[in-house]
């Protein structure tokens, strides 16, 4: 097997082509632009630089409905702009892959240091109830692999799947084997073959039912059940047991790379499918006295974990884009000294 030196963003672009993506629309934004650059001039895929991220996500909604696997890539500011249409794609059940290479926010923030501030936006960013599937790999190799997974999960669930990255992992160079995964075929016949109506309104059997409470309840239940069922196929996480430690250190993406430095002293848990949250953490957490969540935001995932395991967790919040191992080490020690 030949090895290739690839950047994280590049790996997503190359894997997307191998996963059968035929249409990409995007708007330049650091630190995600390399995905757009890499795809430009690739004969396998139609690439469009749109006027903004709203146009980009809507163009891929159209392209996906028209019959081809489609993707867009952005960072936090663009991801915020896309939120309304992501909700629309959930309502219309459109398979998409949306890559978000996170940077420091809110707003323009610190262009373009890495952050993990869009965790809850993935889950709650659009109005109304929807149940997105979100993957967050932590290496170039994994970005390559999970791009396939994201496309497969999107086709199987007929929903937009978020592939999270961050300015650190996105710009990381690593030598990888670039092993292709099996790919799911398109699951719905393209536009122009029937008389279906795709609408953001509450609907039943291709007809609007915008004032029918029962239809709405059933529709939302259908979304929830479907997403739970499909995501079960992708219970992806990494767990490094540590019998000599009573503390479980939870982190993901760029931060999880820092967590490996502490695996001698702590058990490590890294969710890869971050939403719907993998429930195995409930059992794993029982083995440890202390649970520490380490993330580059003010505790977004820590709250989700707390809610799931019904226990208080300690938070190591890293803000401002700089990951300092010495600082993390002393904060961990401080937490450990607490009874």
């Amino acid at each position: 097997m030949t090895k290739t030196l690839l950047q994280g963003n590049q790996a997503i672009a190359l894997a997307a082509i191998k996963a059968g993506m035929k249409f990409f629309a995007g708007y330049p934004i650091t630190p995600a632009s390399e995905i757009l650059h890499e795809l430009t001039n690739k004969k396998e895929v139609k690439v469009f630089q749109m006027e903004d991220e709203i146009a980009s996500v809507n163009a891929i909604i159209g392209a996906s409905l028209a019959g081809v696997k489609s993707m867009t890539a952005t960072s936090g500011p663009g991801f915020s702009l896309m939120q309304e249409s992501i909700g629309c794609a959930h309502m219309m059940e459109v398979p998409l892959v949306i890559v978000n290479v996170q940077r420091v926010g809110p707003s323009t923030g610190m262009p373009t240091l890495p952050a993990q501030g869009d965790i809850l936006q993935c889950k709650y960013g659009s109005h109304g109830d929807y149940f997105p599937i979100v993957f967050y790999p932590n290496s170039v190799d994994e970005l390559y692999k999970y791009t396939f997974t994201a496309f497969n999960a999107a086709e199987e669930s007929l929903s937009p799947v978020i592939l999270l990255s961050d300015g650190y992992v996105g710009h990381l160079y690593e030598t990888i084997e670039a092993v292709d995964s099996p790919i799911s075929e398109r699951s719905r016949s393209p536009l122009g073959t029937s008389n279906r109506h795709f609408t953001g309104l509450t609907h039943k059997d291709s007809r609007p039912a915008a004032s029918n409470t029962d239809v709405h309840k059933k529709l939302i239940k259908h979304f929830e059940t479907k997403q739970k069922k499909i995501s079960k196929k992708y219970n992806n996480y990494e767990y490094i047991e540590n019998k000599s430690s009573d503390t479980l250190l939870i982190s993901y993406g760029a931060m999880s790379r820092a967590s490996y430095y502490f695996k001698e002293d702590y058990a490590i848990y890294r969710p890869i499918r971050i939403f719907p949250i993998v429930e195995d953490i409930k059992e794993i957490a029982k083995k440890y006295k202390k649970i520490v969540v380490m993330e580059m935001n003010a505790g977004q995932y820590a709250n989700e974990v707390e809610r799931l395991i019904h226990r208080e967790v300690e938070l190591i919040s890293i803000q401002g884009g700089r990951i300092d191992l010495h600082d993390i080490g002393s904060r961990l020690k401080r937490i450990n000294r607490k009874k």
Partner: protein, 245 residues
């Protein structure tokens, strides 16, 4: 003898009558689009109708072919995505002036620049009808609406100039000028590249009644009095209707 209205095959007849108000012009536009499609023998398979949000946004759902009812203002990028992904499809956008020129205005600016081969039918009623009658991007100066009680002071968008700036097909007609409007829509559907047809359409419920019209018919007749056909010049005056290729 009962004449079969063959253009109705383009619509899901069981959804008729539409939920639009009595006197509304949207149904007229729907009929004109169907008749134009019939005239050109448009296949139902291979044609997609896309709409945005608002009263006119409901148009797509009535068609007896694949249709997409997008988020507010996003009919154009969705339509472009469809066309760019599968060039064989006929893609028709039917939406309102608020949707296409207000919230979605930026997309029109760029769609015309790309000259994507889609047909846009703009139901231009100069009002946000569904939300109760607020002034819209095509409301005339002086017009009294819910949010301009002393008369609108903003200039209406010069849609013709906007569309012609990138040399796309532009036509203007009204719901009174049925034959003329059909010609405009047929011309647009035949056009290669982006075409934009602005159909002046009456909203009696949330616009006309505040401006002294007694019913939809009176508004319709005002189009007869206020617009004249110009099929010669390369630019339409604000009180003229015609096709500018």
């Amino acid at each position: 003898m009962i004449r079969k209205l063959t253009y109705l095959s383009y619509l899901k007849e069981d959804l008729l009558p539409t939920e639009w108000c009595p006197g509304c012009g949207n149904g007229i536009v729907l009929k004109l689009v169907c008749q134009s499609m019939e005239k050109l023998n448009f296949p139902k398979k291979g044609t997609v109708v896309v709409s945005g949000i608002g009263c006119s946004g409901r148009s797509a759902g009535f068609f007896n072919l694949d249709s997409v009812h997008t988020a507010h203002g996003r009919a154009l990028p969705v339509a472009e995505g469809i066309k760019l992904a599968n060039e064989k499809l006929n893609v028709i956008v039917i939406s309102g002036d608020g949707d296409l020129l207000g919230i979605g205005g930026n997309h029109l600016l760029h769609a015309t620049r790309r000259n994507t081969d889609i047909n846009i039918i703009c139901i231009a009623n100069a009002i946000y009808g569904m939300t109760g009658g607020q002034y819209s991007p095509t409301t005339e100066v002086g017009s009294k609406t819910l949010t301009t009680p002393s008369g609108n002071t903003d200039l209406p968008i010069d849609v013709q100039a906007l569309v012609k700036a990138h040399n796309c097909f532009y036509a203007r007609s009204t719901t009174y000028h049925l034959k003329h409007a059909t010609q405009c829509i047929v011309g647009a559907l035949e056009h290669k590249g982006l075409s934009f047809v602005e159909v002046k359409t009456q909203c009696i419920t949330n616009d006309g009644r505040r401006r002294g019209f007694k019913n939809g018919y009176e508004m319709l007749m005002s189009y007869k009095d206020n617009y004249k056909i110009n099929d010669k010049s390369s630019e339409l005056e604000h009180d003229e209707i015609g096709i500018i290729k």
